[in-house]
């Protein structure tokens, strides 16, 4: 077993992989965002129920590798109950961490996510770890756009 393999597949990652969080589909959602990783075929569907400013619940359905599944599971755990601003900050911090920017900071209680740093040794897999977070950011952007768009508020729920 080489050490770099264990660097990537840390115990906490394997744990998220084996029992991913946020797998329960939602009845209602006002964030709905799909992501694919064209180079390897990972697919993710992310839906979230936002109430006022707070992400009340989130559903992450990820068909992908241990890294993308674990990353999606960590995301589900991390964003639930947080404000949209916080969520955006976390997602951006994870993106920075995965791109190797050392100064990116996460709230202390989210140190699980720090374990994704090990993925950086596997450049091709960085995309897998990123997928969920990028998809989330896109979903947030869409939500924001639909809210600031005065003409016609798009209800993402209707997309179902």
């Amino acid at each position: 077993m080489t050490s770099s393999l264990d660097d990537m597949y840390r115990e906490v990652i394997l744990d998220h992989y084996r029992s991913p969080r946020g797998r329960k589909p939602l009845d209602k959602a006002n964030i709905l965002s799909d992501g694919i990783n064209p180079s390897c075929g990972d697919e993710i569907t992310l839906s979230a129920q936002v109430n006022g400013d707070i992400v009340e619940d989130i559903h992450v359905d990820c068909k992908g590798c241990a890294i993308s599944v674990a990353s999606g599971s960590m995301l589900a755990e991390a964003v639930k109950g947080r404000s949209l601003d916080e969520v955006r900050q976390i997602a951006q911090a994870v993106r920075k961490i995965l791109k190797g920017e050392e100064d990116a900071k996460l709230p202390e209680e989210l140190e699980d996510i720090e374990s994704l740093r090990g993925v950086r040794q596997f450049p091709v897999r960085v995309k897998c770890a990123l997928l969920a977070w990028v998809t989330l950011l896109e979903g947030l952007d869409k939500l924001e756009k639909s809210q600031t768009d005065n003409s016609d508020t798009i209800s993402t729920e209707e997309k179902d």
Partner: protein, 425 residues
Amino acid sequence: MSSKTKNNIVSTIEPPVELDVAAIRADFPILDQKINGHTLVYLDSAASSQKPREVINALLEHYRHNHSNIHRGLHTLAERSTEGYEKTRSHVAQFIGGVPTEEVIFTSGATESLNLLAYAWGDLNVHEGDEIVITEMEHHANIVPWFQLAQRRKAILKTIPITVCGHLDLSNLDTIITPRTKIVALCHMSNVLGTINPVAEIAEAAHKKGAIVVVDAAQSAPHTTIDVRALGADFVAFSSHKMLGPTGVGVLWGRSELLEEMPPFNTGGEMIREVRFDKITWNELPHKFEAGTPNIAGVIAFDAALSYLDKLGMYNIHHHEMEITRYAFERLSELDGLEIQGPQVVEDRGGTISFTDPVIHPHDISTFLDSHGIAIRAGHHCAQPLMRVMGKVATARASCYVYNDKSEIDALVDCLKDMRKYFGV
């Protein structure tokens, strides 16, 4: 060379000669290295093959002694380079069944060969309402150019479906290929399923309806004897880098009647006869389709790759890979629930084995194997539509070639077992 000719003619009656894999491995410098502390087991030849010393040396020799631009030059180096370049053309012509030399066009790869066709033959001959038929098991290189052509010409793209066993389903061929069909484009061997398709049979059906037949031989040319006429093909495309040759070199073979009537694709130097600002005439075949300075060194070294394949004999190579595949099937069956895509009968397929674990994702399989020195590919293998038909997001793919042996299948299977323990699923 003689073994090649022999194989072409009497391949089905003479017994194959077993490859001396140990001797072959000694010709491939790259194989003699450790990856992550383990001896490299290279099972990714369907993506790109490794190169024997002869090919590497041919590149070296060219740049150390003979390099110059070709065709236009009157000096010694230009003559040497031109001669080397044209020698490969003759060799290719012979390698694919003995066709006229001017029917062999060098491109930068199978992908460019297929694009050339879609633009130059397609835009000339495909009109609104016409049909282009491909199959569900095509590589993107044999899908996207036809999709784009169909868009440009308002034509219809149709597909031949596959059976659950990974064969083409020809039961409705008559309704799929119609008098409106202009092109039937299909792979000779699938890069995911390993399936060898009955090209000649389909070509006959296509020709009856007046369609031309384009064969993507990217996966078959490296592994089996190719006789383009016997296949019933009108055009055939393949890449050097998958058949022991350098990257950046491909072949388009076409019947000269068709090539003659086609306009050029890329234009520029070499492919013209006369250029005036008001009128341009084209050079003769094959130069009409080779604009600009080609991959001179690559083409020249490709000759050495073909010679290496000739020496081993394509029939023997195919047989060797069938043996390994048979053994791999046997050993992989030790892994409960592991699913192998494509034909289960080795006679119907090449040595490209796609598989999925019921739980562990192909990426994780590949990363885990790599950490033990084993190189396989994981993903959609540039065949997303096929993946969708198979209901898979991705597969792991182990593919073998002349330098692989059964002990490497053992390494693969043992490592897959360790992997299941590691992931604890």
